[in-house]
């Protein structure tokens, strides 16, 4: 009975929200969002500081923010402070999971599934391929969709594959910790150098080069790779914590 009542209330609420959004004149209907009246128009034609005219892929050089993928431009350049905050969230949650579950000496969780030899060997091969795609996505963040976060997630998924396929396998946690801390510190240091030299925290010091090249958009790709590594190591740390338990 309680569930039914809750269902009714939730339904009525949903209906009310939909109706109120419909006849709310300020809220644009689905699909008719006029981007020009919004802040993001400046991001699209890179005209926050000065107007570079129309941007031709492959020719426009040192625009105010380099990456071809505008979403990466916003995430890593215009609003890169959010991403810093973002990374801290993930850092804290992985630290927290380690605090909650991690003990001194951990050993692999006793699962009743014991993989046979074929699975253990086959997964090694697949591991390499997944890892490479993850790294590729991280590196090409500023050109193609994806970037640090999806890349990092794929790296972690490759680690997960190993964990699942082989029940004695344990990655070297120490290494992840080192990588994570290195990437984080590097990211903040880049920001600080931006503050010291360029006057603004996280400023893009290197020139942006030609839009569309692999080595363009200044510090963005570097930052995104660092983020990819950090996310990868953190999530693998979390996976390790979940799949292990207290024991000699």
């Amino acid at each position: 009975m309680k569930n039914f009542l809750a269902f009714i209330t939730v339904l009525v609420l949903g209906y009310m929200i939909v109706v109120s959004l419909d006849n709310n004149e300020a809220f644009p209907a689905y699909g008719e969002a006029d981007v020009s009246s919004r802040v993001s128009q400046a991001f699209i034609d890179r005209s926050v500081t000065e107007d570079p005219g129309d941007i031709i892929f492959g020719q426009a050089t040192n625009l105010e923010s380099g990456p071809a993928n505008i979403v990466t431009a916003i995430v890593a350049d215009y609003r890169s402070f959010d991403t810093l905050g973002e990374v801290t969230v993930l850092f804290v949650s992985s630290l927290g999971v380690a605090l909650l579950l991690g003990g001194k000496k951990q050993k692999r969780l006793e699962l009743n599934f014991h993989p046979n030899f074929m699975l253990r060997v086959g997964s090694r091969a697949l591991f390499g391929i997944i890892l490479m795609t993850g790294v590729y996505i991280a590196i090409h963040g500023h050109l193609t969709p994806g970037g640090g976060f999806p890349g990092g997630a794929m790296i972690a998924s490759s680690m997960l594959l190993l964990y699942l396929a082989d029940d004695e396998f344990r990655a070297k946690i120490k290494g992840f910790k080192m990588l994570e801390s290195f990437a984080g510190t590097a990211y903040v240091l880049i920001g600080l150098t931006g503050l010291l030299l360029g006057g603004y925290f996280l400023e893009n010091l290197l020139d942006n080069g030609v839009i569309g090249d692999l080595f363009s958009a200044g510090i963005i790709p570097i930052v995104y790779v660092l983020i990819g590594l950090k996310v990868g190591s953190e999530i693998s740390g979390i996976i390790d914590n979940f799949l292990t338990e207290e024991g000699v």
């Binding site: 949903g14 993001s40 505008i70």
Partner: protein
């Protein structure tokens, strides 16, 4: 249409929170809620007939319109925050299980 789906997902998440008493189910409904929210964020930026906001070689010859890039940037962050909280929730769930031996809140009784 996507927006109605997003709001429906939101409501489903709220329904889950209202009724479920199992720790894992609560975490699942929180995730549904967040996915709904993320969908809604993206739907706000959708422009009829717009393409993904990435400059590519064939962009400058046939005058295409971009979808609003900012919501997708924000959604990127929101997703990762969702991951963070879910990881923490699951860790707490494991702790609770070790302490109380069950996931049902009613059976845990007053601490």
């Amino acid at each position: 249409m996507l927006q109605y789906a997003a709001i429906a997902m939101l409501m489903l998440g709220l329904y889950g929170l209202l009724t479920q008493r199992n720790i894992i189910k609560i975490i699942v409904s929180i995730n549904i809620l967040e996915i709904g929210l993320n969908l809604f964020i993206v739907s706000v930026g959708y422009v009829e007939g717009g393409i993904a906001p990435i400059l590519t070689s064939d962009f400058n010859n046939n005058g295409l319109v971009f979808v609003d890039p900012l919501p997708s940037a924000l959604v990127l962050t929101a997703i990762v925050i969702g991951v963070g909280t879910t990881a923490l929730g699951l860790a707490l769930a494991k702790n609770i299980y070790q302490k109380y031996g069950t996931f049902e809140i009613d059976e845990m009784g007053e601490e």
